[in-house]
Each structure stands twice: as structure tokens, then as C-alpha cells.
Amino acid sequence: MAEETLVLFKNIRNPKYSKSLEGYKKAGGYHTLKKVFGMKPEEVVQTVKDSGVRGRGGAGFPTGLKWSFMPKGTGKPSYLIANADESEPGTCKDRELMLKDPHLFLEGMMIGCYAVGCHHGYIYIRGEFFPAIKSLNTAVEELYADGLLGPDPLGSGFHLDLTIHSGAGAYICGEESALLDSLEGKRGQPRVKPPFPAVSGFNGCPTSVNNVETLACMPFILGDDGVDAFKSFGPQNNSGTHLVSLSGHVKKPGVYELRMDVNMKDIIYGIGGGIRNGKKLKGVIPGGSSSSVMTADEVDVLYNFDELAKIDTMLGSSAMMVFDEDTDVVQLLHRITRFYAHESCGQCTPCREGTHWSRNIIRDFLNGNGSDEKLRRLDRVGGNMLGTTLCALGDAAALPIQSFVKKFPDDFRKYYANK
């Protein structure tokens, strides 16, 4: 039976653990940072490359490669920004880390700052996360009081400041270029790329944006034998453990730390305890609301980046939303499209219009005004958003629409069949 593999949650799962700086140090914390300060930044980047770690924010881009894109000698400051916006529906794992083991994430962030030559890092955290903001504030204050932040952390001479920056409610600000605009004090609207943030990011300077969980992996990866151990947790190209936000109709929803070679069936029926109220599984949205839906027949698959890509969906932020046989998928899709209609920043026409049209068409079905033609139109409206927008929100809205129509057509037909 599947069980948790504790790397990021090693402290959190220890009932005696105290998340204070003292408690974290007692558990071996900031030991790796000291080691890292003795390495060259390029060596740190190479180690992260060797570990194969891929970003946990949704896109799965290799972190070491991203850091290697950071130009040197530009005469401008370089920045590392932690993406703590966590607003992809279904996802609640970064909050867990920030609330319950803030120093693990902060040590990872400090390692990242050293690797990319950043002397002032910003943590962009969604504004609604009041308790997590408090937890981070306390931890950062502890670090300054201890001298781990400031002019000379651990005698390294590497001046380092960290600032917690609160957002103010907008899903789109999780998208890295919108995040940068928001951090600059503007409306959060995605930028035209290129230039990518590594070339022109925060205030036009070289910037790397990394997810909280990605950064929290660093103390382990840079630790003794970290690379080999990290790679051993999953198949090639899918290394490490990941934090899975399990929600919906399972008996035991929760955030679980799993290897990347665990079967989805075992997650739903083992870790999650199966479907509640003795019901049967109908489907799963596997990687945040932006991923293509899967039917119950498809869940016999390893839960990782490459295996899900093979069946035309994605791991995204590792947020699994499970739904049972009684679920009205038309209503479910209506709720998803309402989200995207609300969160579209309005900049690109296909997304601004498409998210509203699709929501209206689905509402027609719910009101008894569906038809074969409208089902085809819904699919087409989705298709028109795919790849036609500045950022991936258009795709994020399109993928659920097209996959729901494709995989559950009879559920839509039920709404107009008997007329």
C-alpha cells in the first residue's frame, strides 16, 4: 500500500517538532545553507540541475536550467522571487509549508538567492493567507535577530535581505510575469514574452520566479548525498517527492508527501481511503483546475509529470480533485468556467470573451437550452482560447472545457435529450 515519503514533511509529521528557528536548527536546519556558502554559486546551480528537480508551481520547468539562464555581470541587481500566490483551485500545499515549517522554505529560498546572486529576495504571498503571512513574518524576524539574514549570514559575507510582500487577491498574479507587475505596484497583467524574467523581470532586472515547494526542496538536494536520494524518489525525469493536495469526495482528503512513482489508484483508494459514502469514482481533475479531466477508467497510472502528459493531461500543481458518481459534471464545469471568467485579466480578447461565452453556453445547458450545436460550439470556444493568449490562463480555461465535453458528452446530452 502507498504511504508517505517524508522529505519536506519530515519535521511537520513529527508531533514534537517546534517550527521556531531554534526548533528548526535542532532538527538540523541551516546546516545545508552553511555548506552552500562554501560552494561556488555555479556549483549550486549544477547540483540543482543534476537533481532533475522540476518546478512545483504548475509548469514543471527544470529549476536548475531556469537558474542557469540568469545572466551575470549585467550591472543590475538580480532577484529571486518566491511564488507563494497559491491560487490554482485544488492547491493548498505551499500554505502547509509556510504555516507549519516556514524555515524549511526560507532556507531553500536563501540557497536559491545565493545560487542566482540575489541579495534581496521577495516572497510574493497571496493576501488572503493571513495566518501564513504571520508565520513567515515571525520566522523572518527570527532570522534577522539571529544574523542569518542581514550583512553577514553565517560569516559568509553574502549580504541577504528577504521581504514578505502581500498580494491583494487575483488568481492571475500567480502567473510569473503578472506577479512581477503586481510586485512593482501595478495591476497584475501578464507581460509579452520574450523578454523572459531572467532577462527583464522585477523592475527590468534579471529575475527568477520559483514556487515555494520548489525552493523547499533545496535544503535536501544540497544536503549530503541529496542528489542521488532525490533522484531515487521517482522515475527518470520525475525526481523527488511532491506534495499532493487531495480533495473532493475521498474519505481522507489532505496534503500528502508522495514519491513520483505512486499509482493514482493507490492515492485515491489507499492514501485517500477511497470514495466516501460507499459511492463509486466518476472522475478526477488531476493537476489543479487547469488540467484536463480524467475518467474513472484512466486512473491506473503513475502520478507524475511524464505519465500524465502521455495521456494528455498534466500534473500541474499536484492537486487532485476527486468526484463521485453522483456528481453533475455540467455543474462542475460551470463552476470551473465561472472561475476563469472571474479571473481573466481582460487583456487578451480570446480569453476575456471566451471565458464568458463558455460559461454562458454551459449555463444554457443548465437552464434546459442545450443542443448538439451548442455542445460543438462550446468545444470550439475552448479551442479558440488554446495557445492564442499572452499567458497560459487561456489554455487553463480551455483544457477543462474541451476535456469535459470529450469525456462526458452524455452528461451534457442528458440536459436536452428528452425535449
Binding site: 495566518p131 512593482e184 523592475n203 480533495s247 481533475i285 480533485m321 463552476r335
Partner: protein, 156 residues
């Protein structure tokens, strides 16, 4: 306009960014807190001056983000999540119950100014759904019964 303690926080924020404008959103949040949860034109002008940007820029920012409010919320601001995982396990019913119990709708404040309701998109607590935020506190695995008791308690 800021109290002394908050003014210190504002000054600290301004010192932590390359440009004053960068601190705009965190400072607006502080201003909103100072003014009992909402922003007036006077406050926006004040923050505009702090960050050295035009008022129109501040207004553009304030209208973009859902956490900024241009009318006063209730003393207890109930932010009920009805996004996908929450709606799978009763978030929508929870919102409906809350609206009925308080005899008002999401987006509005009760006549006595005690409660306001807001329907939320995912608040990042999906594995503990249905979830809501009351002012700054998270409440998780909220049932209709728990909601009823909470409202009764806060009404006293």
C-alpha cells in the same frame, strides 16, 4: 493619517523596495486596515502621495484586486469559498445557508453592520473543504451546523 505604529510599518515597507511604487499594494492593505476594512478617496490619495504615484494609478490598482473594498464591510466579514473542491463538498449550500440565516446576499452587509458575506474563489484550503475566512482567520471543514453556531456566537 496613519497611526504611529502603522506609519512605522509604512516607512519600513518603503525602505525595502528599489522604488516607492513597488510598495503600493502592501501599503494600500495597511490603509484599508486602518480604515476598518475599506478605502476612501482620501485614503487612496494619501497612499498615492506616500508612493509618489498619481491617484488614477492607485484607483486602477484598487479596482483590479478583489481584496480592496470601496464600501465598508461588516464587523465580521464572512468569506465563504465555493470554488471547485469546496463546492464538491457543500460550499455552495454553506453559502446559501449563510445568506438565508443573515437575510442578505453575498456582496452585502447586514442592516446592523455586523456581518458581510463574500463568495470566494479558492482560498487555498481545499483539502480541508469547505473553508472560509472570517476577517483574518481560516475556518475549515465548516458544516452548516458550525456556521450557525459561529454566527449565533458572533451576534451576541
Amino acid at each position: 493619517m496613519f497611526s504611529k505604529e502603522i506609519q512605522n510599518q509604512v516607512n519600513n515597507l518603503l525602505s525595502r523596495y528599489p522604488f516607492k511604487q513597488n510598495a503600493l499594494i502592501p501599503i494600500l492593505l495597511l490603509a484599508q486596515k486602518e480604515n476598518n476594512g475599506w478605502l476612501t478617496e482620501e485614503w487612496m490619495q494619501h497612499v498615492a502621495d506616500c508612493c509618489e504615484v498619481p491617484l488614477t494609478h492607485v484607483e486602477g490598482v484598487v479596482t483590479f484586486y478583489t481584496m480592496f473594498r470601496l464600501k465598508p464591510p461588516g464587523k465580521y466579514h464572512l468569506q465563504v469559498c465555493t470554488c471547485v473542491p469546496c463546492c464538491l463538498v457543500g460550499g455552495t449550500e454553506l453559502l446559501e445557508y449563510t445568506e438565508k440565516k443573515l437575510n442578505t446576499h453575498a456582496g452585502y452587509t447586514t442592516g446592523d453592520g455586523l456581518f458581510s458575506i463574500e463568495e470566494m474563489e479558492c482560498i487555498g484550503a481545499c483539502s480541508y473543504a469547505p473553508a472560509m475566512i472570517v476577517n483574518e482567520d481560516y475556518h475549515e471543514q465548516v458544516t452548516i451546523e458550525k456556521m450557525g453556531k459561529l454566527i449565533d456566537k458572533l451576534s451576541k
